[in-house]
Amino acid sequence: MSPNIVLVVTIGVLFAAGVYLLLERSLSRVLIGVILIGNGANLLFLVAGGAAGRPPIVGTEPEGQMSDPLPQAMVLTAIVITLGMTAFLLALAYRSWQLHRHDEVQDDVEDRRIARLAAVDERAFTDADTEIASDTLDVEAAEARDETDQGAPARETPREVRP
């Protein structure tokens, strides 16, 4: 049996677009990427189940023409799980927006600290990669955004949020 070419191409497009979006910094785009990849995986299960056929009810349908019910059951489980994760990621993105007024994933502060220590060790030469130790780490981490606002840091004071 050869798989349906339309499904295969759709899966490819979904995965490509999903991977591209996953590499973004903004959490909402990452979320859409996760949804696209998840749907690509679900379609893959349909391809794995073989050609579509009659409902798989023993006794009412001829057995040779039934479709395979198992992958469809697995896809249902996967869809429910993806739904739950999507809801959680949305909540996370909203919380990030509440706290910082943007939903971008920030850099690791400790990593920058270690990089800065290494840069101090190597004062013998200075190039474009050497970090200038002027700002505090928190400011630097907050500035390390590259999509919205052309990298301008979030200046708004965080809103008071009930703990």
Binding site: L22, G38, M74, A78, L89, L92, S96, E110
Partner: protein
């Protein structure tokens, strides 16, 4: 012989039901605590019983009476039972620790009403992953424990935890999708997702296809287990969570990935075509992980890097694919779960006593609380592999297996693991000197460590010492587990006694079909 198979689903069913009960009782914190403790104690008892029973042969349950390849089956063999016992002991200790922490201070890391149900769901997911005899059920087990871990790592929703949690969640979601794709491909290639049936069918398909399937599964599990090129998410996300949560994550979650690698490598892909690649991955994980640890200043991050590094030891044991290698790897997993969790719990106490986790700010703790110094010293030396502790025994087992294998690559790995142990010792001694012996920047007021937090930590260190004292019988047990893993037939025959169907009652329909 009495039929004890009813014990097998208990480690999954008890915590899940208790989670529902705990959620319903959110207004009664005391009852909630009681429910959680009782549930996890029952799971521990059931796991110990399974540990003893599984030594006779794997216990199999076809869930709902549906025969194995069609229905889902739960299998408790020696490996699963051992993992289950260690993990339930660890979850119980960490829970008691977090209860005491919640009683002592009302900061945001203290358990809120959602903490107990989520923690129980996490325990159920871990047990489900260990017991699953079906690839898709393994995926569901992973998702259960991951969903619970997402909630636990972002507990309280502070800015720092949201940042760390985002990275953790996106990476975990990616690995889940990879796993899902692997399952779909495997189903397309073989028409089954039952592990025992896959063990029969996978050798029959095209070797190239089966290699692709193996790579996909390994990729998915290696992200979860934090094997080197895929490990960068771990030291970034773990340290921000509350101390008990970090401890249970460090102890259990990566080890579930390691367990999945052991299971699929032995049962599904015994021809070992990727062993050399795994060897290199193990070497890189060990060395690069520990170099990261040496550079750290924050003690929680230091421990997270040693966690990554020591995953390399387990992958080394798996990559050798010999009885000796698997024996040592399984023993090492058991040792590492207890010691790493204990260390993270101790660091929680250090943070309490010293007011920080930064090694430059800490100091003088040995004078302040000598008890804490002992609590840190024992598991630290254990992790570093000082004789006669269990870390030494695990490492000597791995080195012995590597020398016996005798290939040049195995010798490189042996040297790499010795260097890694020495560097682990260096990193931990550095932490020990700075946190406990250097003169603090400003004198700290004397603190009283709450008994409720010290006792579970000490108990867990005791379990670690027990692994040393009982190393003889335990090592013999892991050896039997390893031998039955490489034989493969005990597992397959237990699930599919006639090579076709399990013991369920649903095979009357199947007989009508050609």
């Amino acid at each position: 012989m009495t039929d004890y198979t009813w014990l097998v689903p208990l480690p999954v069913v008890i915590p899940l039901s208790a989670a529902g009960l705990a959620l319903a009782l959110y207004r009664r914190p005391n009852v909630q605590r009681l429910v959680t403790v009782v549930a996890l104690a029952l799971v521990l008892a059931a796991s110990v019983a399974l540990l003893v029973l599984a030594d006779e042969g794997p216990l199999v349950v076809d869930v709902g009476g549906w025969a194995a390849p069609v229905g889902i089956d739960l299998v408790a063999d020696r490996l699963s039972a051992l993992m289950l016992t260690i993990s339930s002991a660890v979850t119980l200790c960490v829970l008691l620790y977090s209860l005491a922490q919640g009683g002592e201070d009302d900061e945001e890391s203290a358990p809120v009403s959602i903490y107990h149900p989520t923690y129980l769901v996490l325990a159920a997911g871990v047990a489900n992953a260990f017991l699953s005899g079906d690839l898709f059920n393994l995926y569901v087990g992973f998702e259960i424990l991951l969903a619970a871990s997402y909630v636990l790592i972002t507990l309280g929703g502070t800015g720092e935890r949201i940042r760390a949690g985002t990275i953790y969640i996106v990476v975990a979601l990616l690995s889940s999708v990879l796993f899902l794709v692997a399952i779909a491909m495997i189903y397309a290639a073989t028409g089954t997702v039952n592990l025992a049936q896959l063990a029969i069918r996978l050798p029959e398909i095209d070797p190239g296809v089966s290699l692709v399937l193996q790579v996909l599964l390994l990729l998915a599990f290696a992200i979860k287990a934090a094997v080197f090129p895929l490990s960068a998410w771990l030291p970034d996300s773990y340290p921000t969570a509350p101390a008990p949560v970090t401890a249970v994550f460090a102890g259990l979650l990566t080890k579930v990935g390691v367990y999945a690698i052991i299971r699929t490598q032995t049962l599904l892909f015994p021809d070992g075509r990727l062993d050399d690649a795994l060897m290199w991955a193990a070497l890189a994980t060990m060395v690069i992980g520990i170099l990261g640890a040496v550079a750290q200043d924050d003690i929680k991050r230091l421990l997270s890097f040693t966690l990554v590094s020591h995953i390399g030891f387990m992958v080394f044991g798996i990559a050798m694919a010999t009885d000796l290698g698997y024996t040592a790897a399984i023993y090492y997993v058991a040792h590492h779960i207890t010691v790493q969790t204990a260390l993270f719990l101790v660091v929680g106490l250090v943070e309490r006593a010293g007011g920080s986790t930064s090694l430059t700010k800490l100091g003088g703790l040995a004078k302040l609380t000598p008890l804490l110094a002992v609590l840190f010293f024992v598991p630290a030396m254990n992790l570093g592999g000082i004789p006669p502790l269990s870390g030494f025994l695990g490492k000597i087992g791995l080195i012995e297996a590597g020398v016996q294998l005798g290939t040049p690559l195995a010798y490189v790995l042996v040297v790499g693991s010795v260097v890694t142990s020495l560097l682990t010792l260096y990193a931990l001694v550095k932490a020990w000197n700075k946190a406990f012996w250097q003169t603090p920047e400003e004198p700290r007021p004397p603190v009283r460590l709450p008994f409720g937090m010290v006792a579970p930590t000490a108990a867990l260190i005791g379990v670690g010492l027990l692994l040393t004292v009982a190393a003889g019988p335990l090592y013999a047990y892991t050896e039997r587990a390893a031998v039955s893993l490489t034989e493969r037939t005990p597992y397959v025959e237990a699930v599919l006694p006639d090579g076709e169907r399990g013991q369920g009652v649903s095979d009357d329909v199947a007989e009508e079909q050609p």
